[in-house]
């Protein structure tokens, strides 16, 4: 544990936190009008957790429907809305806000800044994102439109044309989807610009690019990637709106338009989006693994290069989602190769994490437990990714439950697991209280068991020929038992998530006091009080190495002598 005699408090946090007592209305006003990056970060995270619960509930309904063959729990119309909304919610309303929540809260603290480069733009971005999400969900109430048909969007989260054309999707459901995503897209682009500008222009003295914590590097990469991946989605959505409202023909196959063009545009966004979501998970791992292994990250320059490399390669792999649309054999070969290449920098990362742990003294507190699970699960997700990149095999596996299992392995097994770890890790910094360790362990093990029950088993129906997006299946196909097991696992995960939410609430009020630096960590945010004052640092910090607090705690063996 941290040696509290060290002069952390004295140098960076001169004023003790003041206790305020405001009325509810004042507190609410304060949160709604805030431009403080920390409060906005918290808002993002709460928003993400809200939609995690909503999207999770949708997933559970889907799993009830699929637990038995020829089940009549839901009508096909409702089922199609639920899986569309589940996908849209988890990617755009849970995943993106969660990563921006972490970035918002931590990036300024880690680079020794007092706020983001553009605090008001930051608030604008959050509220745009929030508006977009609520707008999409409003479709459940108001989606019937003038035609009296349709409800929530039901075209799948990648909304292949021409199913989205007026002829096949009357009413306004698809419009809610498109317009809501354009709105939240603007928010996302604003955040991306803001984070890049913050990282380039707000670093404290001595924080050169190669001394930034890897968390910051990864978020810089992600935000730059956001700028060139969310924008094609926005462009494609604008085209879709032109088609639906102005009678345009971009994706109108009756007038010579092409359905394949939509697929290209969507996946030019859609694949890098996976990396937009997974790189922040790496970012969290890059902070937690060294701290709990008690070692500096192994091969910092290689980690930076690999992250930026992944971002670049990710821009050239989109058509591996399209191996079955009838591309030429040369294109199929090209996208096979580019997809396989992603495995190289990703492999470097896994090995570097391994080497960081090697020779360390690993403490398995809850955040590190989640990181261990993250490493195993991300390894498996990567390997099934290699299988899918083999395009002939993908002709079989594409759009099957194998793919569903694969990307849930990435999104849940890697990203959500890392987010849980990150929340356990930084909760004390944000609230000043530790999360309950016993509940944390229960949360972890239940989630782990549920996860593997669901997503390990889910690969098999895919191999046995079960396609995705089907609301029911024939009894004689041999998929029944497997789907029942998957559904049981989903229920266990649901319980684990509820325990997590309960743990957060209970720890907020009753948790053990955390102090400034409960994990004995090394980056600048742990030099502030917990929670940090609104101005973050009373005096501007100066750093001379990648681990400023290590230097402070170990003046006899500081990092800057070796870097």
């Amino acid at each position: 544990m941290a040696d509290q005699a060290l002069p952390i408090r004295g140098t960076l946090d001169l004023t003790p936190a003041q206790s305020k007592r405001d009325g509810m209305l004042e507190i609410l006003h304060d949160w709604i009008t805030t431009v403080d990056h920390k409060k906005l970060g918290i808002l993002y995270i709460l928003y993400a957790i809200l939609f995690l619960l909503v999207g999770g509930a949708e997933a559970l309904f889907i799993r009830i429907q699929l637990a038995f063959p020829n089940n009549h729990f839901m009508s096909p119309q409702v089922y199609n809305r639920f899986f569309t909304m589940h996908g849209t919610t988890m990617v755009f309303l849970m995943g993106m806000p969660a990563i921006f929540g972490f970035a918002n809260y931590l990036v300024p603290l880690m680079i020794g800044a007092r706020d983001m480069a553009f605090p008001r733009l930051n608030a604008f971005s959050f509220w745009m994102t929030a508006f977009g999400g609520l707008f999409i969900y409003y479709s459940f109430l108001g989606g019937s439109g003038l035609y009296g048909v349709g409800n929530a969007p039901d075209v799948g989260w990648f909304a292949y044309a021409p199913l989205t054309a007026r002829a096949f999707s009357p009413g306004n459901a698809t419009d809610y989807w498109a317009v809501g995503l354009i709105a939240s897209g603007f928010g996302t682009i604003g955040s991306g610009i803001n984070i890049v500008a913050t990282i380039f222009s707000m670093r404290c003295k001595g924080m050169t690019l190669m001394r930034m914590p890897l968390f910051v590097w990864l978020n810089l990469t992600v935000s730059a990637l956001v700028l060139i991946t969310i924008t094609p989605l926005t462009a494609a959505q604008i085209m879709l709106c032109i088609d639906r409202y102005l009678g345009g023909h971009f994706f109108d196959t009756q007038a010579g338009g092409s359905a394949v063009v939509w697929m290209h545009f969507f996946w030019i966004f859609g694949h890098p989006e996976v990396y937009v979501l997974v790189l922040p998970a790496f970012a969290i791992a890059n902070e937690i693994i060294p701290v709990f292994s008690r070692k500096a990250i192994f091969g910092y320059p290689a980690m930076v290069t690999a992250s930026v490399g992944i971002a670049f390669i990710s821009l050239s792999v989109w058509a591996h989602h399209m191996f079955t649309v009838g591309m030429t054999s040369a294109s199929n070969a090209f996208f096979t190769l580019s997809t396989m290449l992603v495995g190289i920098p990703t492999g470097i990362k896994i090995f570097n994490w391994l080497a960081t742990m090697w020779g360390g003294k690993i403490r398995f507190a809850t955040p590190m437990l989640f990181m261990t699970a993250f490493l195993f699960q991300f390894l498996i997700a990567g390997l099934t990714g290699i299988m899918l990149s083999v395009s002939p095999w993908d002709w079989q596996l594409h759009n099957s439950y194998f793919v569903v299992a694969h990307f849930h392995y990435v999104l849940v097994g890697a990203i959500l697991t890392a987010i849980f770890g990150g929340l356990y890790f930084w909760f004390p910094k944000v609230t000043g209280r530790m999360m309950d360790e016993r509940l944390g362990k229960i949360n972890f093990w239940l989630f782990l068991i549920g996860f593997h029950l669901t997503f390990d088993v889910m690969h098999i129906p895919g191999i046995l020929g079960m396609p995705r997006s089907i609301y029911t299946y024939e009894a004689n196909r041999g998929w029944g038992t497997l789907n029942l097991i998957v559904s049981i696992g989903a229920a266990i995960q649901g319980i684990a998530v509820l325990i997590f939410a309960y743990n957060m609430v209970i720890s907020l009020f009753k948790g053990e006091k955390a102090g400034n630096d409960p994990w004995d960590a090394w980056t600048l945010e742990w030099a502030c009080s917990s929670p940090p004052p609104s101005y973050n640092f009373a005096t501007e910090p100066v750093v001379i190495s990648r681990r400023p607090l290590w230097d402070l705690k170990h003046p006899e063996d500081p990092d800057w002598k070796y870097e």
């Binding site: 960076l12 991946t229 005096t539 100066v542």
Partner: protein, 199 residues
């Protein structure tokens, strides 16, 4: 603000310079906008000659040479304006800045006239065929950026006339000018694709 080093006996460092946040943000915005334009340009190029019905670009499009000259020269006038503000010559700055706005307006009016002709004389609307869809959306996307740029420029002009602009604002003005240069540069691409490649 005083800077207190965490480690008092650390080796002294080089002077600390960071890029301006406005400039970084504007480059980011330009990067993102470029991606949007790339998607629209790709759609335009992909659909060249794929319309099932007329009119075709060869039949109805005229090359807007005067228009384009106006827009390109506005890049020059704004550069001159930038140079004057750096040296605190507010009057000259205002003049060149106003000239830029006028050139931008001429461009917009020209586009309006072109659309009027296409819609009412040639009967080409956004829903006529693929050419109409891609043409109006690409050129319209660019025109909407010109409009946004003109609003920004006009705000600065208003502040200049009321005497609120001085040398200290040159950094911000240059950042705004960066956006205007981007809008001009995009026109080079749109012009090439729509009026040369596509015709």
């Amino acid at each position: 603000m005083s800077a207190v080093p965490i480690i008092p006996d650390a080796p002294q460092e080089q002077p600390w310079h960071l890029p301006s946040r406005g400039r970084v943000a504007m480059y980011c915005l330009i990067l993102g906008e470029s991606a949007i334009f790339i998607i629209f340009v790709v759609a335009y190029v992909f659909y060249i000659g794929k319309s099932l019905t007329g009119p075709t670009p060869q039949q109805v499009l005229e090359i807007p040479i005067f228009n384009s000259i106006c827009l390109f020269s506005s890049s020059v006038t704004i550069m001159l304006a930038e140079r004057h503000i750096e040296h605190n010559r507010i009057k000259q700055f205002g003049l060149w800045w106003a000239a830029t706005i006028v050139l931008g307006l001429i461009f917009l009016i020209g586009t309006g006239a072109e659309w009027y002709k296409l819609i009412y004389k040639d009967g080409l609307t956004i829903s006529t065929n693929l050419f109409g869809t891609t043409f109006y959306s690409l050129v319209g996307l660019h025109a909407s950026h010109v409009i946004v740029g003109l609003i920004g420029l006009s705000l600065v002009l208003a502040f200049t006339i009321t005497g609120h602009v001085n040398e200290k604002h040159s950094e911000r003005i240059q950042i705004l000018a960066l956006y205007w240069h981007f809008v001009d540069a995009i026109w080079v691409v749109v012009f090439t694709v729509v009026y040369i490649l596509g015709r």
